[in-house]
Amino acid sequence: MTPLMEELLIAVVKVLVIFSVLLTLFSLMTYAERRLLAFMQFRLGPNRTGPYGILQPVADGIKLFFKEEVVPEGANRWIFVAAPGVALVTAFLAIAVVPYGGPVTVFGREVSLQIADPDVGVLFIFAVSSLGVYGIVMAGWAANNKYALIGGLRSAAQMFSYELSLGLSWVGVILLAGSFRLPDIVEAQAGGFWRWNWIQQIVAFLVYTVAATAEVNRTPFDLPEAETELVAGFHTEYSSMRFALLQMAEYVNMITVAALGTNLFLGGWLAPFTSLQSLGGIDLGLLWFAAKMLSVLFFFIWLRGTLPRFRYDQLMQFGWKVLVPVAVLNILVTAAVVVLLAGSEPEAEPVAPTEVGLRSPVLLAGPAGALG
Amino acid sequence: MPEAILEDPILNALPFMVLLLPLLGFVVLALFGDAIRREGRSFGACVLACVTVIVSFGLAAWSVVRLWRLLPGHDGLRFAQPTLGRGLADGLSWIDVGGLRIPFSLLLDPLSAVMILVVTGVGAIIHVYSLGYMAHDEDRVRYFSYMNLFTFFMLLLVLGGNLPLVFVGWEGVGLCSYLLIGFWYRKKSATDAGMKAFVVNRVGDAGLILGMVLAFHAFGSLDLVDIASNAGSLAPEALGQVGVVTLVCLLLFLGACGKSAQIPLHVWLPDAMEGPTPVSALIHAATMVTAGVYMVARLAPLYSRSATALAVVAIVGVVTALMAATIALVQTDVKKVLAYSTISQLGYMFLACGVGAFGVAVFHLFTHAFFKALLFLGSGSVIHALGGEQDMRRMGGLRTRIPWTFWTFVVGTAAIAGIPPLAGFFSKDEILEGTLLAGERGLFAIGLLTALLTSFYMARLLFLTFFGRFRGDHETEHHIHESPWSMLAPLAVLAVGAAVTGFVEIPAIVAPAFRFPHVEALHVAWLPYAATLVAVAGIAAAGYLYLLYTDLPGRIAASLRPLERLLQARYGFDEAYGWLVRHVVVGGSQSLLWKGADVALIDGAVNGAGTLTLAVARMVRTAQTGFVRGYVLVILGGAVAVLGYLLWRP
């Protein structure tokens, strides 16, 4: 079996594993969100199906499967159908390069816990997430429904505006780590939670939190799907499976954002104290990572339970006149500090030339994700 | 020139600092003048102006001393650029086209050394004087900025290492002269005088430019040192023989005539007296007007190759000297008298140049700078005392009222009249001697006569102003007051200068600059006595006429009416020129240039171009379909064509 084939095999395996993990996580999220919101609002939430209604997601799934697919009259069929796929593909593509833990050895073979690890990792996420807009725009436009269209345009504009500050908030971290590769960025934070970026990059961290919330259209930035204003926004006309797909895309994006935030600012799979990194020779990285990511996700739900919604103009004002300048300022300061500490411009240690072929898994990951 | 000198960093930088300091002062005053005035800080600004000049005098002195110590008896140094600019090959190149390469090179040799000392020294003194004289003018910041600018240009003129640079300075001082003559621009006569000076100078400058062009054509270089050192190899041109050298010399001399107010271009200087008196002292007595003499002396090697040119110079000089002196006899305006006296003295200098005694010319220039500046400043002090009165007929008896001014004025008068041992005596004596040695008895005779006249009209000026009883109205008499120290101190300094500068052996010092050995003049034993005698005679005569028998002048004038009228009319130069301009120039311009050239040729050409363009456009614009993709097609075609050419290029 040629090394390339091995690479491929490993990639596929990873894809499948992570895909299934994401599916479960997605369904759990829907459940958790409903329960938690209910809890916050002194309701019960779904509690009939199975113990504590744990099977609710399954029920929903089944329901959605058997519902009729409606393509509204005068809708642009092709795009209408394509939209959810696009949304999902971009979502999965983004998560394809997010690591979940340090390299582990399986069958005496070094394997990184991440589908693909291009040395432009962060940039890649940025690029793909910028594609995420299309799914929504297409969905909104194709439905030939004014609420949908407005919702689509809104979300497009919103993502557009907040992507900027989102990306800018990463730069500080990247500067500190001196690499685009997420594993490097995580390793750069090694040594206790006080070394994590959310301390020294507190500004960037805050910007990221806000921008990320907006990026995934969560409250208080959920204008694209503001029920009170536009019915259900861009997926007003969607039903059954496609609706499920759109929902899934949303949640996957959310998970991506959470995972990314964990990696960038919360020290990824690193333990708050190095002593807790491994227990009895077993690396607890994955656990730490999961813990952090889940808490971030909880934070999102919490927000939704707490905050009211922005007004559209406020949203734009805030995005362009507050977040972006702050982020830029942070970059300036960080860059200055880095240069000063480095004494002089850091010399480029020649990166080991990587074989071109190894990048194909990245490209496989996307379609693979979409296939599911 | 030995590398050792140029390696001296300080010496390398000094001339440039000397040159640029006044410019700095000007820039500051020019940029912030108004602000300063509004601030009410005018006085400080004026002091700043003075300081720049004084400092640059100090630096000049330093550099000269240093130069002497470094290389006794050398023949001058070219300064490529200050050491800070050493990176450049040899000086920043100012113009560099074809064979013509003109660097910003300065030339510091004995001649320019003397000149910069005069310019900065006298300049500094007069700046200080102006502090007092202009104290009550609310526009004095502008005045001082002009003065600084003038100093800069004058220094550039004398330090310039090649003719173009000299020319820049030349034009610059002309400009400043214009600005300062017309300083009180609300006075029409002042502005007119300024314009007159400017225009008349243009005539001379035309000659100067032509001379430069021809010089470059003939010698292939405009660098003063090159010209001077190459001149020796040129074939001397005998009297009446007009070769290229003669031509160059004459053309340049035309420029000199304009600047130094020699016949026939002398008409502007008397009117220039409209300007503030210190200006007359600095520009129209001590420095600018001597630029012509300086240039002739600077090109001495060249001039000495052409007998014709020398003859012309000598004759023009002596005629001017005599004529101006005679006119000075009948002037009643203090400054006018001094102006004509200046013209006459400049004539003297050119006479000296003409007979080949260039060193002596510079000597007289040197001394003249002192005593004429002194006289002008003195007259300025008088005018100041009388609240603006300039007419001698309304003066008199000031001897006791303003003693400082009086005594210094006496010194100046004695100096110019040639009373030993004052400065004027030596220089004038040497000039006359030079004419004798050259064997020009005629010139000598006229020179002597001029000397007589000089002492006469100067004495007349002195007596009318300071002796007898006051002839003005009581109002002015009541206000007569001695000038402030800032005016008297300069007078004193200059008086000392006028007294002692005669002992400086300028001819010997500047001789090396002329590329031929300084011939120690074998003194004509009787000449000094004769000269002194003449001077005394003039003064005595003046005293006889204007102190004892004060009605006599009037009767003499009456008996010699035609001559008197001729003198009053200043030999009718102005009228002649006026007629020339009105009829020939204006008439010619209207009938020929305007109607003929302008309307027919130029306008015709322009309009023709217009119509032609229209016609062509009417044809071409059909290509502008306004159809975008048509344009794209053309672009594509172009791309294809270019690529095709690159591919299948032969």
């Binding site: - | 071409v620 502008q624 379909t625 306004g626 159809f627 993709r629 794209v632």
Partner: protein, 101 residues
Amino acid sequence: MEALTHHALLLSLALFAVGVAGVFLRRNVITVLMCVELMLNAVNLAFVAFSRSLGTLDGQVLVFFVLTVAAAEAAVGLAIVIALHRNRDTLDVDAFSLLKG
């Protein structure tokens, strides 16, 4: 690899040709603009391919600049389109012929 770079060049050629053709086929200004973008991308592809086959990075830097220019061009171009549409109420390239001499 040789084959790939070489074929990449061929692909860029094809894309460029298609883009040019589009400029002439389509009459909608926006489409024309898109065709221009297409051509730019063809050029980018050529740059990258050459950069790969020459082993130098200048090609990539140039692509970077092309991207920048393309962005600026799109922004201004679309702004103009909007203005045109507001004033002339059409997007037909051939309708804008005010420059006809």
